[in-house]
Symmetry: D2
Subunit: 399 residues, 4 copies
């Protein structure tokens, strides 16, 4: 079936013709470029008229893909297709699966911005709003956006900021001048702070093992930390360090294993259990220093998500992961920047929830971890392969 | 304060004198070997009489350490010290923190074997039994073993089996003849099967990505898999593969990214949600092949533990981690062997619960992961740095 | 200065407009697409007319880049610029630096194919031929191709073969079905063998440590190995294994360290020194099995390049690296396929000399090594992250 | 055959009884401890009388091993066995293969200290001295030490220094406080400098890519660098950076790939070739800054060893590896400390030549590289897993 579409967007910059070519190959179709007007610069908007010879199903899929790539297809300015969920936690088979890019839906003759944008969600129309919803939160009877007609993605927002961070956009590698990246990041963080913006950290226990906690505590006191997402281990090791000077039984000043120290982390949990919570343990002076101490003292919120490998856990650790995911999602709401420090698990968890326009910096000494996280994210994720302890020390010097 | 102790055990083989020396240094004490009778072979039992000049606290700690190292101290054949927990989830500060080695407690004039042995637990006396209990399960009023007097560890059991697996005991390295290790493992597994033993697998989604699922499914059908511990991802990718031939949108036969395939894993979850559970989806023929299919068809139990990064999740995934940890612990009860395939998170989770006498094999292409897991385990953990897909193919050929 | 050029080639597929855009930004110029005729398919040839507003120097650089990208610029069908080298091992500053793609030079009214194509060479006109020459081999008085006018690159050859190997083209990852790639490779190798083609292996000592030598020796006997490029270590470890059953003192059958075995590799070198060479040691029956034995017995040539870390070395190891590089270059002359097994050093050395049309397969358990090698190569380099021992065992089963 | 030996040394600390046990198992012998007098502290010297039931050959091997472990066996105070080499580059089969520990030989009634100690050498008696000699330098007619009678090793020297560096002795890991180790290292370096000691650096091009060159140049000017061992790449990238601001075509300040920059490293080599050498290029002001510039200006010697992967190479690069190994060995003569920065190849090369009493620090972001180097070395090698650029910046701040 021959169809003619007009498309508009970054046709050259985003390799749109290659995408159409590949799609036609996969869906046994063919295409012809009838007209192509490209801008003077690669960043300019181009328009094209394309003839497609393809099945109906293939046509729908190509439109869906182009939409996801930020291409606007004027001819699709037709109302979205809404279908009703027949059962809790389920949607019709042709449901529209969201990306993390800013998305709009054409409904009742105008474009609505999607609320709570995240990847791998579904779009539910509720009370005159389009809400990006996790599959498990869909209720029978909900109106679900299906197909891709009447859906469009705006990719501009995310890109504009990219220029500031040009240094880090390049391939993931430890062979880079980290100092330059740290300087750029410090400038960025100071700008966000001046505007009373929100900088959320996702942090693993390596922050403590590498000695980065000194700088991190200072950054909390200076007001550069708006919230912390982590797991049980960061808090346990931090409190163990405060109570016994060790982390997993290793003396943090000398690096030596302390005899009997393997028991320290269980004793730390026991101590907090006696107080009732981390905040209570700070209040009754069981805990006298450290990252958790500074967070409590400075009223900075934190969420500790549980995992199958947790000992204890601390009373503050959320072992109900539905609850933990909600608390994480709450924390990153309106974040201007998310900095992920050496924790693949919690970083992926956070990344899954982040819209594409939030600046994201990933720091890990393992290039494989950085690459995995950057790959999952969109253009906004910047990776730094370096020593987290020295990174925090250097970053704090600039703040 | 001068104290004289007599000790008995693998004094030479397990470097006990070096341990005492280091402890004395840490606790500002000194020691003198008054008498030492060593066996003919390094594996023989030796006895020694040691004079310690040390504080009371240091003395208690040294006894504790020696006990944990499997040294018996006849003079400690005195009743254990029991104290009462004053609050749920808490214990007295000098509680005895367990290892994963077989432990006995001297009570009412005789030695009791500890039930449900695992590391980082506490010992609770209940109904005439000594039960290794997680801190969070302690109730106010429980009788808790404190100090280390009246506690001893038997390390023999674990060692005897080591000889069979000698090949793998060596340092973690990819520069090893994996074929030899696979042959030894196959022999071991066949012996366990003949005795109707229990072989539990901990498996990550890499089993599917690397094509290992074909061999793994065969091993399930042949009866070599007594249970599977995993997370949401293994099941989702396995079901995605069955429904769409892809895993995370990548065609498993050609290795190519499939257009629109990013949506497949959400569609797979949606499909299972419609059926209500994995077993229901197998029953109504939504799922027609794969690892989960074989598990259901062959009545092999599995536990999927949730994590903060999970999409969906599937209805079978336990998002309440207390419940998930209980189910994991249940599964490994009486296991003869645990084989961990490319999943650090679930492997650590399982390892935390395993007593030291269960043979454990860890397979991963990343040497850092294998090293981390082997380090956490005790002598029973054997590491293999290799390609999990080829490993399973080869292993299945031998079974 | 405004200039108008007409270009022809894979303008869409190879992102040529993006390249021009980036170049103009770097050289402070601007451009305008006056005309663009694109083919129906992304693989078709397109033509365009571009107006450039740019300095003379920038213009030359852009032409150079487009040429290197395989774009033909009809207006450049003018004789190449030749300048004379004034001193051995030096060339004029604007010399043309070669890629590893098939290159042609326009001279005396016709296009000449460049001989001995390799990357980072210079083009010397000698005896009516254009020879790709290493800088150190340039003699004072040589005629050197400068600038990029009159130079063009043909990229077609390399691409056509890509389809056979489609599986491996994808991103470097251990999460792939290695079995599928091995099957494709075996088919490919058999085709080359049938046509009496040339398959060169670059092999590190890991081939021995992982037990891959059994399969590799078999492949030599079956005639699938046309030549081997390696270093001192492969041969020493192979001969040590033959003489003492160990590799670096580790028993290859049991994986155990052999007491006194650290001395074995020096004893192996001593033994070969007594015979005078590896071939002589095979002849006098000092060496009775192994990779080197099979190479000698089957008259397969090998080159062992020295390195700063070599012990000994063996009499066959070339410690003069100029000589070693020549011998390597000789070996890969007319190769149809090069398979690199777990040796970064020798693989990079070989990769530097390889023209882009030789199929290259890189196998290593470390993804970082595979990524580094694939990045340096051109489209023809296919990476496999897997266990080299199991890989060779499986590959040999298919041959 | 039953033999009784008396041994003296760190019997407990160095697990000597376990060693004897393992040896007896391998050589089908048995042993009995007749007497054991251990010191009060683990570091004290102990003595023992051991009865061995073992073959003659096994007995010789055990004596050899004990000697290599630093155990003195008074009964072996008998003259060494000397045999004559029958052919250049060869020695009798029972030659004594050296370790890198301080070694003494009993000859003509007294103990001689071995000259030019290194591992994997042979001992040649020449002009009344015992010289540790590479196999390839042995001449027909040389008197070669065979067996292990009359050879002893002193291990004390190496250990005494260990305490200063205690922090780094622990397992290789990126989860350590690098700052603490840097502080200790700076103190150490300043002490060496005050005593006009010698600090040799082994450096890879990562020093430049990570921006560490600024600090490194400063350290050269301050007098903390006595010599540099490296390869062609460090110098080429350093000079490329000086001439064009790029390293392998990447702008070091912005991290962006520069168009046409792939040619820069060949242009840099061409420029040095025109001058004739790096020193000449500094003199004629072709090179105006950088590591090589500072080395030349401050008269600090350097050695660039060639490798099979080198482009060019620079006129200063030694492509004859025999010559390069000699120059390396010359450079480390009398070194007090060797610091190895991100280059496995040259670090192993240097490590092979180093006696065990030279302090060695290995810095790399890849834990596998650090582990490999530390494993090859003896107790004196300290590993730091961290970012080399930040490490140098921090270290220079302390100097």
């Amino acid at each position: 079936m021959r169809k003619i579409i007009q498309i508009k967007g970054h046709i050259i910059r985003d390799d749109i013709l290659k995408q159409i070519d590949a799609s036609c190959e996969q869906y046994n179709g063919s295409y012809q470029v009838l007209e192509l007007n490209i801008g003077k610069k690669v960043d300019d908007i181009s328009t094209a008229t394309i003839a497609l010879e393809i099945s109906d199903e293939g046509f729908t899929l190509i439109l869906n893909e182009l939409t996801n790539l930020g291409i606007s297809i004027p001819s699709t300015e037709s109302p979205v297709l809404l279908k009703t969920s027949e059962k809790d936690k389920t949607v019709p088979d042709d449901f529209y699966s969201t990306t993390n890019h800013p998305t709009e839906v054409y409904l009742d003759g105008k474009w609505f911005k999607v609320q709570k944008q995240r990847m791998d969600g579904v779009l539910v129309v509720k009370n005159g709003e389009i809400i990006c919803t996790k599959l498990r939160d869909v209720k029978a009877g909900d109106a679900i956006v299906c197909g891709s007609e009447g859906v469009r993605i705006k990719t501009e927002a995310a890109e504009n900021d990219d220029h500031d961070f040009a240094f880090m956009v390049n391939e993931v590698s430890s062979e880079r001048r980290v100092e330059i990246a740290v300087n750029q990041l410090a400038v960025e963080m100071k700008q966000i702070k001046e505007k009373n913006g929100k900088i959320v950290f996702v942090a693993g226990p390596v922050v403590i093992h590498t000695g980065g906690m000194v700088a991190f505590q200072d950054m909390i006191r200076k007001g550069f930390v708006s919230g912390v997402l982590s797991g049980n281990a960061l808090a346990v090791h931090d409190i163990e360090r405060d109570l016994y000077g060790t982390s997993l039984g290793v003396n943090l000043d000398t690096g030596k294993v302390v005899k009997g120290g393997h028991k320290h982390h269980m004793r730390a949990i026991n101590a907090v259990n006696k107080s009732g919570s981390i905040a209570a343990a700070v209040a009754d002076q069981t805990i006298k220093s450290g990252i958790m101490y500074e967070l409590v003292k400075n009223n900075i919120p934190f969420v500790l998500a549980g995992s199958i490998r947790d000992d204890g856990p601390l009373p503050d650790t959320l072992m109900d992961l539905i609850q933990a995911q909600e608390a994480y999602a709450q924390m990153i709401q309106d974040a201007d920047m998310v900095i992920m420090l050496s924790t693949m698990l919690h970083s992926i968890g956070t990344g899954n929830m982040l819209p594409s326009w939030v600046k994201t910096v990933i720091v890990d000494i393992n290039p494989a971890v950085v690459a995995k996280l950057v790959d999952r994210g969109s253009a906004q994720a910047h990776g730094l392969v370096t020593d987290v302890g020295l990174f925090l020390t250097l970053l704090n010097q600039q703040l």
